[in-house]
């Protein structure tokens, strides 16, 4: 559940990402993979919710950690983030389905259902990525 009435804590929300042109190697638009670039398409998010939904989970976490820090001291969010980081490492290779069981339990997602569980289930996605390319992307080699 999200914390309420503490928007004053949200001083610096997560900056806008993914809205700029997709840069590949050499800092130029990667035409082979993402197609021709068009300034109009990339400058404006086309839907009201696109930006806020992209960063929703991150903003929520930031707000919660900030509140927790004010209430219980610095150790509380530090310990939680350490646990999240450890739990996030338990997954399969990028092109395979991981259940994220530990991470879900820590975050409390196993006790609630929202649109993330119903819509656009990655297990039923119609597109499959090339395994080598996905691993290279994850390791930062591309």
């Amino acid at each position: 559940m999200n914390t309420r009435g503490l928007r004053s804590q949200l001083k610096d929300s997560v900056p806008v990402t993914g809205m700029g042109p997709q840069v590949g190697a050499y800092g130029v638009q990667d035409t082979l993979r993402s197609g021709f670039s068009s300034v109009k398409n990339e400058l404006l998010p086309s839907h009201v919710l696109e930006l806020s939904e992209k960063n929703f989970q991150l903003n929520q976490d930031k707000m919660n950690f900030s509140t927790l820090r004010n209430i219980q001291g610095l150790h509380a969010p530090l310990k939680l983030q350490m646990e999240y980081r450890a739990a996030r490492q338990i997954q399969r290779l990028p092109f395979l389905q991981s259940s994220h069981l530990a991470l879900d339990t820590l975050k409390g997602n196993d006790e609630s259902i929202s649109f993330e569980d119903i819509l656009n289930d990655p297990a039923q996605s119609e597109m499959m990525g090339e395994p080598h390319i996905m691993v290279e992307y994850k390791l930062g080699m591309m």
Partner: protein, 277 residues
């Protein structure tokens, strides 16, 4: 087939890939002679009030899609939990899905904790969800229920606003219904009187608003249980059409009957074994 431009597994949840295409399509279609289909709205009258023994909720049963009546027996009172029911106005799909999600979340909670959920929990979950989506989910809901703290009636607007009130009407026919409620509402009414008042309020909404019509559903929630009366009052203008146009056997009489047997002889027979391992 593996695509080489997919770098990450797509995230679950809402997908905004087609928004630009849809905007372009709409501008193309509006100029021409075709129109995009309108979502089914419930253009409704819903009302609720708190009485001495519990909460009474009422709704009409018409669902419209533009200027056409899409459903004459739509069920607008949704089940949330054994002690909480919710009337929904707005886009029909949004109200259904939102109340379904809410009901699932509260069921998980009550399985975890072993208690019946409280009405404030339902209201808070709804408020969080609707505010998160900034009013794009067009659902105005009236939540009513009985829990350990008493009888409650809440309204939740599509942008996430809530209000706790003793009597309430929402939907396109809410002004007419609210007039009746304002006139005759008294605190701590008796059950029968409360049901009649809600019925009258919905009836005035049906008479004064094009988007509401057909039958009236009433749902009475008390500490002992729930009474969901699916058609408390049927409309006087119910059409007498039969719903099925199938003719029963014997409608046309058989005059003559002639049977011609076909003589077939077996020419070739092949057997193929099925591998049932």
């Amino acid at each position: 087939m593996a695509l080489s431009n997919v770098l990450q597994i797509p995230t679950s949840g809402f997908n905004f890939e087609n928004v630009a295409r849809n905007v372009a399509l709409e501008s193309l279609l509006e100029g021409g002679h075709t129109k995009t289909p309108k979502p089914m709205k419930t253009g409704t009258t819903i009302a609720g009030l708190v009485c001495k023994e519990g909460v009474v909720l009422g709704a009409d049963t018409r669902a419209t899609s533009g200027e056409v009546v899409a459903d004459k027996m739509c069920a607008k009172i949704h089940y949330i939990s054994p002690n909480i029911y919710c009337c929904g106005a707005g886009t029909a799909a949004d109200t259904e899905k939102t109340t379904d999600l809410l009901s699932s979340n509260l069921t998980i909670f009550s399985m975890n904790s072993g208690r019946n959920p409280r009405v404030v929990m339902a209201v808070n979950i709804l408020q969080d969800m609707l505010f998160r989506y900034q009013g794009q989910i067009g659902a105005s809901l009236i939540l009513g229920g009985v829990d350990c703290n008493g009888n409650h009636l809440y309204t939740v607007g599509p942008y996430g606003s809530i209000d706790n009130v003793p009597y309430l009407a929402m939907g396109s026919g809410d002004l007419a219904a609210l007039g009746i409620l304002e006139d005759r509402f008294k605190p701590n009414m008796e059950m029968e009187e409360a049901k009649e008042l809600v019925r009258d309020a919905i009836h005035s909404g049906i008479m004064s608003d094009l988007g509401s019509g057909n039958n009236i559903d009433i749902c009475v929630i008390t500490k002992q249980g729930v009474d969901y009366i699916r058609a408390y009052q049927e409309s006087e203008y119910k059409d007498k059409r039969q719903k099925r146009y199938r003719y029963g056997p014997g409608t046309t009489s058989i005059l003559t009957e002639k049977i011609v047997p076909l003589d077939l002889e077996v020419v070739q027979e092949t057997v193929q074994r099925m591998d049932t391992a």
